[in-house]
């Protein structure tokens, strides 16, 4: 790993490792109950409650077979990201910008 890359969580999405661009990302012990949001974008799996807070739950890739929920955060708030499995904490894998995912969701919702 190159020196300028912090140790951030790497997860499997659509069968490929992706490095989450969020130093605070942490996997949850279990995927919480997810409430679908009808008429929501396809990337939005629904809403879930974590520590009393209502969070959006996002599909990170195109495959809908996630088994791990990762708690992530950005200036748009916290969210859960559904992915295949946790690979580790350091890698040269392609980065995944959590904030960009949430920003895209926000734009989709607002039309």
């Amino acid at each position: 790993m190159s020196a300028d890359r912090p140790n951030t969580l790497t997860v499997e999405i659509d069968g490929r490792p992706r490095r989450l661009l969020d130093a605070s990302a942490r996997p949850l012990e279990a995927v919480p109950v997810i409430t679908p949001v009808p008429l929501g974008p396809d990337s939005l799996a629904g809403l879930a409650q974590v520590d009393g807070e209502v969070l959006p739950v996002l599909w990170a890739g195109t495959q809908r077979n996630a088994i791990v929920a990762v708690l992530v955060g950005s200036s748009l708030g916290r969210a859960l990201l559904l992915c295949g499995r946790v690979v580790g904490t350091s890698s040269d894998a392609t980065p995944l910008d959590v904030h960009a995912l949430l920003e895209t969701l926000r734009h989709e919702v607002r039309g």
């Binding site: 109950v33 209502v54 708030g77 916290r78 607002r110 039309g111």
Partner: protein, 726 residues
């Protein structure tokens, strides 16, 4: 202003004043000369006035009123000293005390932004914050006659404005040097109220903090009570055969829980009232600002307030004050026309700005509307090009809606001349930014020549709300009880499938089938009865159908996550006793979506839905499985009658049915579908034992594809693909 500038200005003023007597004598060429002079000094407003004079003279109008306006404008240019105060002393003291709270907050934000910029001069977010706060300070100080402070903030803004896209440390250092003067002026200009300012807000905020803590505790109490109620219901179900003594104890416990529910509700209501003010109080804060801005702009404005008796949380009112002032100043400066232009357009000389507050069940809707000229979209296009955001071609291609959205971006203004009220494009973006921080949303609507409406929606967090809970499919939803007019159990025969109406009693109501709207599959085992909930949206009654009523509950409203603010038709969410998230409807958005007045969200919403109909279970299952493996969502129906019922209850993208079946046969089913306004465009694939040519003769023109049996995978998928093609 330099000495040279001042000298040129005086020459201009002398020449302009010399023209006024000639204009008064209806000399059109003098009005033309005035317009040219004004354009030389770059005063767009004076150019407009002079042009209006020339046109008016050509049409034979009396020039005297406009000459008076020009005279006043020249006087203002000649002496950029404060206009005489428009306040009475008591009013001014009150307004200044309110302003100085705002000013102190703005200074904190300015200093914090400068600290960041000192390290990284090119950090954009703090720079935009700095510019916005300087702009706010300038406008607000001018509105309450603190002209020295307004001028100092104006100078800061002048310094920062050109550095919006490129700057170095020297700009930031110069801005830092301006801060002590701002601080001094806040104190100097407000000496009489300074002490009050420095003490009152702190004590207020401490009180507010305590009430917040109590409100949070009351909300948690409601959650605890909900859990107890849920467990009590489970115990009651288990205790059906228990001893009479135990059942009597349970009945008493149930009564105690009901009493607890009333007490917690009363507690929550009383605590909220402690922190509530009526909307009129907020209106009173802004009235004078509108008056002052109108005077400066030489415009006549009536401010009309609606919903003044509505209550609003004190802290929310404080947070809304700044964006509201921006919105109102924008309405006066950009929205409302000069009296002469209004008269020429057949409008009254005085414009009306309406400020309206409405409780929406999930939060507040605040509307600032004016009957002015509307947004000049051509000017917005020009502003985007001038700001180098878009090329001419790109700006020309932008839709009206997208153009309006750009007004919420930093740095976009249609105003040619900047002054202490507007013109730097730090108005609507400041509104949008402040409202986003409250988790809210802003929308702008305009009609050229008719007016502009700015709608602010702010959710109210952690509020206990009485709501009606119900199920659609397996999912629980809530609507605020305050919006529920009636609940009825209706036979499905009273629902007219073709015209989306329902008859309840003697009344025919517009109907929204929630299952169909939300694309939620219908649960198995539903009989012929449906629950209909009659809701009120802005005085209009409409009905929604659901699959099962749960009943009224006290719920704690949680705002939607920031990334989902604006998602329709949702107002917020709540967490059930079991910890599940349940969505709360925004009743007005639901009414609009149901009536087709709001477009359905157009992003993909999952796999295409197919209804497979055949009496033979083996064929039905085989077809459904082939389709499901191909990524489609398949539902099954055993005959034509149930197919019709399902089709009217939920939307499908395709119908696959077997021609030969009992009950409603293939051709009759097709006839019914093609006769229904809702279903006539539904693509159909027909399975048949007949050869393709015979089948074509029977129903050929009315179906998209025919598949001969026995079933083979590839021909079926090809036919489905053909039928689903747009």
């Amino acid at each position: 202003m330099s000495a040279t500038d001042r000298g040129l200005l005086e020459i201009f003023l002398d020449e302009a004043r010399a023209l006024l007597p000639r204009i008064g004598e209806r000399d059109r060429s003098a009005a033309g000369e005035l317009a040219e002079l004004a354009s030389v000094v770059g005063d767009a407003e004076l150019v407009e006035l002079a042009t209006a004079l020339r046109v008016g003279l050509e049409r034979g109008h009396d020039p005297a009123p406009l000459v008076r306006l020009v005279d006043g404008k020249l006087a203002a240019i000649a002496a950029p000293t404060p206009l005489p105060s428009t306040w009475d002393p008591v009013e001014l003291a009150e307004m200044r005390s309110l302003f100085l709270v705002e000013a102190r907050n703005a200074l904190v934000a300015i200093e914090a932004s400068l600290l960041v910029l000192a390290v990284d001069p090119n950090a954009q977010e703090p720079f935009e914050m700095l510019l916005r706060k300087a702009h706010t300070l300038k406008g607000s100080a001018g509105s309450v006659d603190l002209h020295a402070l307004s001028a100092a903030a104006h100078r800061l803004e002048d310094l920062l404005g050109p550095a919006r896209h490129r700057r170095d440390a020297s700009i930031i250092a110069a801005a830092q040097a301006a801060v002590p003067e701002l601080r001094r002026l806040v104190g100097l200009d407000a000496a009489n109220v300074e002490e009050e300012l420095l003490t009152t807000p702190d004590s207020q905020s401490l009180d507010a903090l305590r009430v917040d803590e109590l409100l949070d505790a009351a909300s948690e109490l409601v959650l605890d009570r909900t859990r107890i109620e849920r467990r009590l219901r489970s115990v009651e179900e288990l205790a059906v055969d228990a001893s009479p003594q135990l059942r009597a104890q349970l009945a008493e416990l149930s009564a105690d829980v009901a009493t607890l529910a009333r007490t917690t509700r009363r507690l929550g209501e009383r605590l909220r009232r402690v922190r509530a003010i009526d909307f009129q109080t907020l209106v009173s804060r802004v009235e004078a600002v509108v008056r002052s801005a109108a005077l400066r702009e030489h415009k006549q404005v009536h401010l009309v307030a609606r919903g003044v008796a509505e209550e609003i949380d004190q802290r929310l009112a404080d947070a809304l004050l700044e964006p509201l002032l921006h919105a109102l100043r924008n309405a006066v400066v950009h929205g409302v026309e000069l009296p002469i232009d209004r008269l020429a357009a057949g409008k009254p000389a005085a414009a009306t700005i309406t400020l309206a507050l409405r409780q929406t069940g999930d939060g507040l809707e605040l509307e600032v509307s004016d009957d002015g000229a509307g947004v000049d979209l051509a000017a917005v296009r020009r502003a985007l090009v001038v700001a180098e955001r878009l090329t001419d071609e790109e700006a020309a291609q932008l839709s009206d809606r997208a153009l309006l959205a750009t007004l919420f971006q930093p740095g976009i203004s249609t105003r040619v001349v900047t002054d202490d009220l507007a013109g730097r494009g730090v108005g609507l973006d400041a509104v949008a930014d402040a409202i986003a921080r409250l988790g809210g949303d802003v929308s702008l609507y305009t009609t050229w020549g008719v007016g502009t409406r700015l709608t602010i929606h702010v959710p109210v967090e952690s509020r206990v709300l009485e709501a009606l809970l119900f199920k659609v499919g397996d999912q629980v939803f809530a609507v605020p009880s305050a919006r529920v007019e009636e609940v009825a159990e209706v036979d499905k025969d009273s629902i007219d499938d073709d015209v989306a109406h329902i008859r309840i009693g003697d009344e025919q109501l517009a109907l929204v089938r929630l299952g169909a709207l939300l694309r939620i599959p219908r649960p198995p085992g539903l009989g012929g009865k449906r629950a209909a909930i009659v809701l009120d949206s802005r005085g209009q009654r409409f009905a929604v159908t659901c699959d099962r009523l749960i009943g009224p509950r006290d719920i704690v409203v949680r705002r939607l996550p920031r990334a989902l603010v604006g998602a329709r038709p949702w107002a917020g969410a709540t967490i059930s006793g079991a910890g599940k998230v349940q969505l709360i409807f925004d009743v007005d958005a639901l009414a609009q979506l149901g009536a087709g007045k709001l477009p359905r969200p157009s992003y993909p919403t999952g796999p295409r839905r197919v209804l497979v109909v055949d009496e033979a279970r083996s064929l039905r299952e085989a077809v459904a499985l082939v389709l499901e493996h191909a990524g489609l969502s398949a539902e099954r129906a055993p005959d034509g009658w149930e197919a019709l019922e399902r089709l009217s209850d939920r939307p499908f993208d395709l119908l696959v049915f077997r021609h030969e079946q009992k009950g409603l046969s293939g051709p009759r089913l097709v006839d019914r579908i093609r006769a229904s306004p809702h279903l006539r465009k539904l693509p159909i694939v027909m399975l048949t034992d007949l050869d393709e040519r015979s089948a074509l003769k029977l129903v050929g023109p009315f179906v998209q594809a025919i598949v001969s049996l026995p079933l083979r995978r590839r021909p079926l998928l090809d036919a489905v693909q053909r039928a689903l093609k747009p």
